[in-house]
Amino acid sequence: MEKPWGGRMNFEFSEEQNLLREQANGFLKDNCPPTAVRKILEGKASYDEGLWKKIGEMGWTATTIPEQYGGLGLGYLELCVIAEELGRAVAPVPFSSSVYLATEALLLAGNEEQKERWLTRLATGEAIGTFALSEGPGRPSPKSLKTALSKGRLRGTKVAVPDGDIADFAVVVAKSRVGDKASWYLVDLSQRNVKSTPVSTLDPTRSHASITFRSADAELLGAEGEGWALTQKLLDRAAILFAWEQVGGAEAALNQAKEYALGRYAFGRPIASYQAIKHKLATAYIKNTLARSNCYYGAWALNTNAAELALAAATARVSATQAYYFASKENIQTHGGMGFTWEFDCQFHYRRSKLLSVNIGSEGAWQDRLITAVEHSNVA
């Protein structure tokens, strides 16, 4: 595959990172139990504000932000660890938008002043950022973009924007006449010329919005006409973090199915003793294990900014998307009718798995990117 065997014996998280995982797991068990997820699912709030505040206090939002901007300056392996636990807990917080996307976008393309302005507040969780790419059904491309600058003002509509109803600012991908035909704009969402309307999605634990820019103030983020290349770079990086959330969720869904199958009896014995159920769960275990190992590869590539990052990202992403979808749907199936009831929590994973899989490009989009990455490397 991508490299000759070089001897790779330290392919594991460090003790400190594993300790962080335990802490994160314990923290979320206490502060984000299923009842907390359900509260957001059933209530009016867009996200769990209390949990978000605590996450900010824990410094998770500051993980990869350099110390000069009030961050912790840690590596991406730590962020992967946190992502997995957030995914496991189906946490109803704007972490992916604010951290994997907005923070990363600023780190990738922001000038000093821009970084100074937003990163310090992103680090504490006091500000929430998001990334606005989609404008409607279909796979976006520079050609499909309609949002553009006109006389120095931004016009257009982005939908669906994750956390668009609660974000303070957005990194908006807009049409450009030059370069790769797209540019990034940093847009303060609190201005009058921006109208943000919540749109309901299949996962109410993660809010989304339709955002219309009506001659909005917008400042270039990165160079004019480099927005599409930046988008690809950002998505590659974010894909690995999303994949870790998916792996965490997939494992939780499998555990849920397993626990239920062990306790549920039919025809005088646990349904977990029937091969139809065992093979289903073993298949989920296989998919989860492959996805986790691919995510290790992704974590390594992200942390070292490896040349094969694009390939590692697509591999982790496709693997994790498939694993979470499978585990979440078969979790419901294993529960039978109970899994289909509103009362049971199986729906959390079924909703979240689909949301995560379309959030930054579908399975098909990433399968295509994977083969493109193979074509660009000298893998085969």
């Binding site: 998280f13 397993k258 003793s273 091969q275």
Partner: protein
């Protein structure tokens, strides 16, 4: 997290690589030898230099190496074109069982010859009526004085036709429940009454055999474990089977399919531009990559002196069906020509078609897909065993059905 050897591992790797560079047999050296001769020549050379059966104690012909060193050696040897081994069953399954149950004298007599490749062993376990349900085997053994007399039939015995010795599990008492009436032996394959008949496979090859036993005499000294303890002894053998049977790559993997998709056309464009082709290739890439990095995680555990988790046992469950599907897919890419297996005409000299025909065997040998999933479900996820209607029933009262 990185991909580096420790200093000691790097040194070991360097030593292995150096030795291999100088000692892998050349084409001239192998000229005129059949595959058994080639395998034996290479094995003996490794043995003489201390590179055979690395983890075994030195006194039995090994190197006393660590698990991670064994893995490193495997990686380095894998980079060279070497004669295909025919010793896996003997070294990987019979030897660990001998180490656990044979006398010191027997170990000294047999293990070094297993390591050097001088003697080849086979495994006489499966029977026509006992495959996935191995403990349902019927080959009878009866004790007569210091000897046992064996009658019955084994099947799917790889390499029985060229083996010198075999490990054998038999039913010594049919009146007790099936797991309790088994007794385990090793025997000389040239013993009178042993008859080996090759089985022609759907792939055309004949690697497996039927082995018939007619009044075969085995000295009691060649019994491994106590009378009636054959199941426990068999478990020692089987635990090593999973470790010695690999992922079932069989040559058709992502690289082969990707190259082919670049070459053949769909609607006047290279197949690789077709989105359905890309999606399927991506899925297989993800599986191969997942297995590879799962392997790295296992190696890391070994490197730290830990016992690897069961995650590595997914290799066969993923690899075997994948090989079949990929061969089938590659033939589809060839359209009508996909049917041609004439080596002079076919793409890749018929390798795709050969793999297609051989791959069903990969999904069955060494534990079927279904058994692999049962193992993962029971031993990894901790799910209960299926109901066993023969539990506690004397073997001779268990319903047998056809066969």
């Amino acid at each position: 997290m990185d991909f580096n050897d420790s200093a000691a591992e790097a040194r070991f790797r360097e030593d292995a690589r150096e030795w291999l560079k100088k000692n892998v047999p050349t084409a001239a050296e192998l000229e005129g030898l059949d595959y058994i001769g080639k395998a034996k020549l290479w094995q003996k050379r490794k043995f003489d230099a201390g590179w055979a059966c690395l983890r075994w104690p030195k006194e039995f012909g090994g190197r006393g190496a660590s698990a991670i060193e064994q893995v490193i050696w495997g990686q380095e040897e894998g980079k060279f074109e070497t004669p295909q081994s025919i010793f896996q069953i003997g070294q990987g399954m019979a030897a660990p069982t001998m180490m656990a149950y044979a006398t010191e004298e027997q170990k000294k007599r047999f293990l070094p010859k297993l390591a050097s490749g001088e003697e080849i062993w086979c495994q006489l376990f499966s029977e026509p009526a006992g495959g996935s349900d191995l403990a349902a085997l019927r080959t009878r053994s009866e004790k007569r004085g210091d000897e046992w007399v064996v009658n019955g039939q084994k099947i799917w015995t790889s390499g029985a036709h060229y083996s010198d010795w075999g490990i054998l599990v038999t039913r010594s008492d049919p009146t007790v429940p099936k797991h309790k009436g088994l007794t385990y032996f090793f025997l000389d394959m040239k013993s009178p009454g042993v008859e080996v008949k090759p089985i022609k496979q759907i792939s055309g090859g004949a690697n497996f055999n039927e082995v018939y036993f007619t009044d075969v005499h085995i000295p009691d000294s060649q019994r491994l474990g106590a009378i009636g303890q054959g199941w426990q002894v068999s478990l020692t053998t089987l635990m090593n089977e999973r470790a010695s049977i690999g992922g079932g790559g069989m040559g058709v993997g992502f690289r082969v399919a990707y190259k082919l998709a670049q070459k053949v056309m769909i609607n006047d464009k290279p197949a690789i531009e077709d989105s359905a082709v890309r999606a399927r290739l991506a899925n297989w890439y993800v599986e191969e990559s997942g297995l590879k990095y799962t392997g790295y995680r296992t190696m890391t555990a070994l490197s730290r002196g830990q016992t690897p988790g069961p995650e590595n046992s997914i290799g066969k469950a993923v690899g075997a069906p994948k090989t079949q599907d990929m061969a089938s897919f590659c033939m589809d890419l060839l359209e009508m020509s996909g049917a041609i297996d004439d080596p002079d005409v076919a793409e890749a000299a018929g390798m795709l078609q050969m793999t297609y025909m051989a791959s069903p065997g990969g999904r069955i040998a060494g534990g079927t897909d279904e058994i692999m999933l049962n193992i993962l479900a029971e031993r990894v996820l901790g799910l209960p065993q299926d109901v066993r209607v023969d539990k506690g029933v004397p073997f001779n009262e268990v319903p047998t059905g056809r066969g």
